[in-house]
């Protein structure tokens, strides 16, 4: 489903190159629930960005559902994301100028789908916000916003869902609800779930944990 080989990322910093990720190789099978953990600055988010094709590696390759990301240009990667990838961010990242419903519709509309409204209605109900679709993000609580974000992430029935510290900005109750929704989707639809977190409790619920430290793969355990 998703694999990376000898993935390395360096940034120029203060006149010299700073290596953020070094020689990362692993493979994730379809339908897996994988947690990527590690201390701050260990390269978790960078790895997530590379796996999702948001950024280009300095060397190494990523293969997503049979597509070599290095062979796609910026727009090609965007189209692949639109079709196969969902995102959940720590800061929710709803588009503030769009209502909850419209936020959910965006991925469907981008793909040219005609059933955007019906799909949004269905997803809003599923995340328990059936009557809040017309609200703007600023009018929703953090937990509600993250549920809308979750609904948006699933709008195109993605094969892979990337979640970057999805509970980082939420209290325990809301965080728990989000994790339940995520794992439910993973279980019910076989969506591959790749979750970045430094919450050990959350990592324990994953089927597999990839640990990073100083940009290097420390361990990859089931």
């Amino acid at each position: 489903m998703l694999s990376c080989t000898r993935l390395t990322k360096t940034y120029p910093s203060g006149g010299r190159d700073l290596t953020v990720l070094k020689d990362i190789t692993f493979e994730i099978e379809a339908g897996a629930f994988v947690a990527i953990t590690g201390p701050s600055g260990s390269g978790k988010s960078t790895l997530l960005g590379l796996l999702a094709g948001l950024d280009r590696p300095s060397s190494g390759t990523v293969t997503l559902d049979g597509h070599d990301l290095s062979k796609l240009d910026e727009d090609g990667r965007a189209r692949l994301r639109g079709a196969k990838v969902g995102f959940v961010f720590q800061a929710f990242q709803l588009i503030p100028t769009l209502t909850a419903r419209e936020n959910i519709q965006v991925p469907v509309e981008l793909g040219g789908g005609a059933d955007a409204e019906a799909r949004a209605t269905e997803l809003l109900a599923r995340v328990g916000l059936g009557d809040r679709g017309h609200h703007y993000p600023a009018q929703l609580s953090g937990g509600e916003q993250q549920r809308v974000a979750l609904a948006r992430a699933f709008a195109n029935r993605p094969k892979v869902l990337f979640a970057d510290e999805p509970t980082g900005n939420l209290d325990a109750g809301n965080g728990g609800a989000i994790i339940d929704l995520l794992t439910g989707w993973n279980r019910d639809f076989g969506t591959t779930l790749i979750l970045v977190t430094h919450d050990p409790d959350l990592a324990r619920r994953a089927g597999r944990v990839i640990r990073l430290a100083d940009g290097q793969l420390l361990s990859s355990t089931a």
């Binding site: 639109g82 995102f87 100028t97 769009l98 965006v106 509309e109 981008l110 793909g111 970057d164």
Partner: protein
């Protein structure tokens, strides 16, 4: 296709989310569109009205015009042209009107009207029946302004030459009359039968004999005119049809209106600059949203398209508002140009102007937004994940240069379409680009300078000045917005002032302020004595000899006139060949002349054998196609004088003194029939009036003009046009203010944060306010200083290249503008950020 559908949907949602921003930007664009629609809609109305009223403009189908009485040959040709239709005769000449009761005099344009004129169009007089009394004789109908300058009323008597008339009424409306021009010499209508009685139709008078023809219904006007054009031309008689008049009037008036449109275009372009800076700011604000869209699978092009379409929607709204407002304003343009247009302009919404206005709104908005919006392509999707990716670097790649080229070409094209002249359009575009570029440089300089704020200044001063260089400062936007508007306004203001000062009465004691002309040689001593008795400075007398060209470089004029096919447009050699030249003789150049080619002759050269050396004005030489060494034979009242062009002269025509196309040396034409012009100085208006009355009551053939009357007339004409220009220039300033509001509003959120933070740290409201005042006053003042500098350069260039006059810089007015701009900047700054100073800043911040 699906990309377009998504882009449209997203653009609509984005627009809905920030109505205040949309309305402000649309208003910025609408101001320019409104001004442009008003002036271009009016131009369309004007053209249509001239077309509809062209026959009424001339008052006939054809007019034959001559400087001399029609000969029997001319009369028979007139009969041929008339084809059995009606003919009316009009004789016109300049004369002095003299009111015996008040002893007041005034130079007037006498129109001696024959029965029947005008065949088309209406004459309205006050009282209404006055025009019909004209046929009964011994009455005159006058321009209303004459009553005031002579101090008489309807029913009083006024003398013209040797004849005395009763004022029967005043003119309200008459075909072809440009009332603004009547300020030079108000029109007086007399019966044609009484023209002879004035005794002014003799030698020396500048007479026009016109025959107006009304052809039988259904006749081909063009064919009738063309049938006699060639033979009449050899008799120095011009042939004009109503469509000639229509074309000439259209040429001059629409040209004026089109140039006025450039001022409106400047307002629109400033709106475009506002859109550009708002777009740049929008990307920064929407960076995360754009990154999220990219994460969700939106190709960069789709997102770019969405924001470009949103700009287009703003343009559409601005275009619609602008066109609506402009069409309403169109009603006021005839009032602005009142008295300068000889037709009744029928005001109606012009569909083409409306469609063009809306289209222009969309295009200008999109083309200005495109460059900044290209930055969207560089927003990394990673920015949704990582905050540190936020610093957006917009590379200067090919697409960006392409966008700039498109923008430059668009501006050039819009200007070219407006004035129909690539040279003027290029000058306009370059001037605006230089102005915008210079203002950007000044802003960059200010940012650097603000870093050097001395530490010993009070805290609020340091803080306010520091705001000019902090990240996300509005220095560039504000300087550009205010400076650009002020630049346009000031350039026009300075040009106007320079023009006016050129024509203002010269108060230096050695300069003449009163001129007498048509003086007969035997009246010179009498006039000299009257002036001396009246306390005037001793007059200088200049002789004037009327003459015509007989042959040019060996070719007889008659042959040249029949040969020369009339050029499509521009100069008409026929006019220069046919006209009567009023030349003088002297052996030196005057102060207002400069020899540009060849040399002046030695005194006495005129009495030597061979061709007489003459000096020709350079513009005329160009028209006639002669240069130094060419021969011209003159018909001086029946005597042939062979001359050779000795030199070409540049003449400052605007000087208040007699200037000449052709100057002869003393000798060859001394004894030709001539009149003289006398220049003197009366010093006060009362003295000038008394001198005129004294001369005119003694010699009724002598005319006089008061320099101050002339200056007033010109000032009135210039200020008429200046009013229209200033009216349009105000739109530029308004657009600048709108852009300013937008720029300040864009930084509002950051201001709120800073304000709250400062208050949390213990700053009082007064201190926070003082910081803002310092910042905005500095911005306003600097914008004013930069705009003044640019305007002085621009106006100097304009004054020198277009009007050949030096620039006048009214320092007081410029200082007032600077203070005004600083005040405007402070007011807008404080008003837009008013929540910062209120007690509720924190709630305001939360509510964002």
């Amino acid at each position: 296709m699906k990309a377009l559908r998504f882009a449209l949907t997203h653009a609509r949602r984005e627009g809905r989310a920030a109505p205040r921003r949309i309305i402000l930007l649309a208003a910025t664009v609408a101001l320019g569109i409104a001004a442009l629609t008003a002036i271009n809609g009016f131009t369309a109305n004007l053209r249509q009205s001239i077309r509809d009223q062209s026959r009424a403009l001339l008052g006939a189908d054809i007019r034959l015009g001559s400087r001399t009485r029609f000969s029997p040959v001319a009369d028979s040709l007139l009969g041929v042209a008339a084809k059995g239709g009606d003919v009316a005769r009009v004789v016109s000449f300049d004369a002095m009107a003299y009111a015996p009761t008040t002893r007041a005099t005034r130079l007037v344009d006498v129109e001696a009207i024959g029965a029947g004129w005008p065949f088309y169009g209406t004459v309205r007089t006050d009282p209404a029946e006055a025009w019909s009394r004209l046929t009964t004789g011994h009455v005159i109908i006058v321009d209303p302004s004459l009553l005031a300058s002579l101090g008489v009323k309807v029913g009083d008597s006024v003398s013209i030459g040797k004849a005395k008339f009763e004022v029967a009424g005043t003119v309200v409306e008459i075909p072809g009359d440009v009332t603004a021009l009547s300020a030079f010499a108000p029109s007086v209508y007399v019966p044609v039968g009484d023209a002879e009685a004035t005794g002014l139709l003799g030698f020396g008078a500048r007479l026009s004999y016109d025959a107006y023809i009304k052809l039988p219904v259904g006749s081909d006007v063009k064919a009738a005119a063309n049938g006699v054009r060639a033979p009449l031309r050899t008799l120095s008689i011009s042939v004009r049809t109503a469509s000639d008049d229509e074309r000439d009037l259209n040429d001059s008036l629409t040209k004026l209106a089109r140039y006025l449109g450039l001022v409106a275009l400047a307002a629109l372009l400033l709106g475009g600059i506002g859109v550009a800076s708002a777009s740049r700011e929008l990307i920064t604000r929407r960076l995360e949203s754009i990154a999220v869209l990219r994460c969700l699978g939106a190709p960069a092009g789709t997102v770019l398209l969405a924001y470009l379409l949103e700009a287009g929607m703003i343009g559409l709204v601005g275009g619609i508002i602008g066109v609506a407002a402009g069409t309403a304003l169109q009603l006021s343009v005839p009032a602005l140009l009142h008295g300068m247009i000889p037709v009744n302009v029928h005001v109606a919404a012009d569909p083409a102007t409306i469609v063009l206005g809306i289209g222009l709104g969309i295009w200008v908005t999109m083309v200005f937004a495109l460059g900044p919006l290209l930055g969207i392509r560089r927003v990394p999707p990673l920015a949704a994940l990582r905050r540190d990716a936020e610093e957006l670097i917009i590379p200067r790649d090919a697409a960006r240069w392409g966008a700039r080229l498109l923008l430059a070409l668009s501006v050039l094209l819009l200007a070219a379409l407006q004035v129909r002249s690539l040279i003027v359009a290029t000058g306009f575009s370059v001037a605006l680009a230089v102005a915008a570029g210079s203002l950007a440089l000044v802003a960059a300089g200010l940012v650097r300078l603000a870093r050097l704020t001395p530490a010993r200044l009070p805290y609020t001063w340091r803080q306010g000045l520091a705001n000019l260089h902090r990240p996300a400062n509005q220095t560039a936007s504000v300087i550009l917005a205010l400076g650009f508007g002020a630049f346009v306004l000031l350039t026009l203001f300075l040009t106007e002032r320079s023009l006016l000062s050129r024509f203002a009465i010269d108060t230096r004691p050695d300069r003449p302020d009163l001129v007498f002309f048509d003086i007969q040689p035997d009246q010179v001593d009498g006039v000299r004595q009257i002036l001396k008795d009246g306390g005037a400075t001793p007059a200088s007398f200049t002789p004037i000899v009327p003459m015509r060209i007989k042959s040019l470089k060996g070719s007889p004029v008659t042959a040249l006139l029949t040969d020369s096919t009339r050029p499509a447009r521009g100069e008409r050699p026929g006019w220069a060949l046919r006209r009567e030249y009023r030349s003088t003789w002297r052996d030196t150049a005057t102060a207002s002349e400069r020899v540009t080619d060849g040399r002046w002759w030695h005194a006495g050269a005129g009495r030597a054998a061979g061709a007489v050396p003459i000096s020709v004005e350079e513009g005329l030489a160009n028209t006639l196609g002669v240069t130094v060494g060419d021969t011209i034979t003159w018909d001086v009242q029946g005597a042939d004088v062979v001359t050779r062009v000795a030199n070409l002269r540049h003449v400052e025509w605007t000087r208040f003194e007699p200037n000449f196309f052709v100057v002869f040396p003393a000798g060859p034409v001394d004894r030709a029939p001539q009149t003289l012009v006398a220049l003197t100085r009366g010093n006060t208006p009362a003295a000038r009036a008394a001198l005129q009355a004294a001369v005119v009551s003694r010699y009724s053939n002598i005319s006089a003009i008061d320099a101050s009357v002339l200056a007033d007339a010109i000032a009135r004409l210039v200020s008429r046009i200046a009013l229209a220009v200033r009216f349009l220039a105000l739109f530029t300033l308004a657009a600048g203010a709108a852009v300013l509001v937008g720029a300040v509003a864009a930084s509002r959120r950051q201001r709120l944060r800073e304000g709250v933070l400062l208050k949390t740290l213990g700053a009082t409201r007064a201190q926070v306010m003082r910081i803002a005042v310092v910042e905005y006053a500095a911005l306003g003042l600097l914008a004013a200083v930069a705009a003044s500098g640019l305007a002085i350069a621009g106006a100097a260039l304009l004054a020198r290249s277009r009007f050949e006059l030096p620039l006048v810089v009214p320092g007081g007015a410029l200082a007032a503008v600077a203070a005004g701009l600083a005040a405007l900047s402070v007011i807008v700054g404080l008003w837009t950020g008013r929540e910062v100073f209120s007690g509720t800043a924190l709630e305001e911040l939360r509510g964002e």
